[in-house]
Amino acid sequence: MSANGTITQALREAAAQMLSDKKVGVVIGYGRDEGQEFSTPVFLRKAEEVERLVFDDLCFGNLAVYLSRPAIRKMGKTGIVVKGCDLRAVNVLLRENVIKREDVLLIGVHCGGLGEPRLPKCLVCEVHSPTGCDVVVGEAIEQPEVKAEQRYTKADEIEAKPVEQRWEFWQKQLSKCIRCYACRQVCPLCYCKRCIIEKNTPQWVETSPHVRGNLAWHVARALHLTGRCVGCGECERVCPMDIPLGAINQKMAKVVDERFGFRSGFSAEDEAPFTTFSTEDSEEGIL
């Protein structure tokens, strides 16, 4: 898999321009050193460094995770390379006032999908081309139509099992968890200064890697991301124990889609479902 030459070249030019014009203090993008299996984040402060930038189909990370970090904020205005899916996370950060639009310079890339074979999320990607960026590089990619029933196939698959089997499945999966919290660290929307897992008066979630605490942790994580998660799939990708975390997030995305007709990250202006309500909400199952 070779680097996508034209996009890489255009990216380097755009980054060099904005760094030498002092429009941004730092550019966050992807780089790949020799011998690396996939592209990793690079942070460029000077125009001479832009040779390190690349864009290829192994740029997995969601760089939006760095936008809320204080160390990055101190560097001044941030230029950031975003794929369409990453842009959804940026939209949520803007909506939640974590970052201001004038503090970021969005460098959008047209992305045809990642990985070989393609990641599941890329097969049903609805945002090959980013919208609302300051600079867009690459050639526009034709956007195939994605049907509503294709959106949540992973959650649907587990949902089709009877309840006892679901319990067994998740018990098996969640007992693998070693509580490394990589899923939290890599999530662009898990930016709380103090996570519920660190609160111990009372101790909400047991911290030892036992399935009871694991269940509580993953329930808490799923609920805190409900109506916010943009389905970038990073949590599942980084999980060292291969727990299908994406399926839980997908389930909650499906719930807010079906109940409230809401899909996160498509606009920086919309209201998250749990910050508002409607008097017309379903009453089903309430005694």
Partner: protein, 154 residues
């Protein structure tokens, strides 16, 4: 006593533990009214008073299960009657989504109840508690969860 009879008597002696989070302004007052008007209801229910049903974090519910509850009930004011104007509307969104998550993870939805009981509905409260206690009795101990709690650390 035959084994079958013994099982039966053990089962009838077993009392479910139901944890109920009641909002201060409606459901708690409704339960109070039930008591004042001498309407009995099963003692299996352990009432915890909260300011509003909107205060109930799903973690409260999970914590209750972790501490051995067989069923959890959250009860608040009827929609439109919230003392804080909209707390129960927020609770409705949050808790129904939470219930779907529990179901997805394989936890029986019948173990988690949501109800609206107003301060004037002492009779509703009394019959509701009788009803859910009977259901909890029929469901039996929350064994799947209890087994998980006792399991060895991974």
């Amino acid at each position: 006593m035959s084994k079958e009879q013994q099982n039966k008597s053990e089962k009838s002696q077993w009392q479910p533990r139901i944890v109920a989070f009641l909002c201060n302004w409606c459901s708690y007052a409704g339960a109070d009214l039930a008591g004042m008007s001498r309407r009995g209801y099963p003692a299996a229910i352990k009432v915890i008073r909260v300011p509003c049903s909107g205060k109930v974090d799903p973690m409260f519910v999970l914590k209750s299960f972790e501490r051995g509850a067989d069923m959890v009930l959250v009860s608040g004011c009827h929609p439109g009657d919230c003392h804080y104007a909209s707390g129960n509307y927020h609770a409705r969104r949050k808790l129904l989504a939470f219930r779907e998550l529990l179901d997805f993870l394989g936890i029986d939805q019948r173990r988690f109840k949501i109800s609206w009981v107003s301060a004037a509905e002492g009779a509703k409260w009394s019959s509701l508690v009788k009803e859910i206690t009977a259901e909890a009795q029929a469901l039996g101990p929350f064994e799947t969860f209890a087994t998980m709690l006792q399991g060895e650390p991974s």
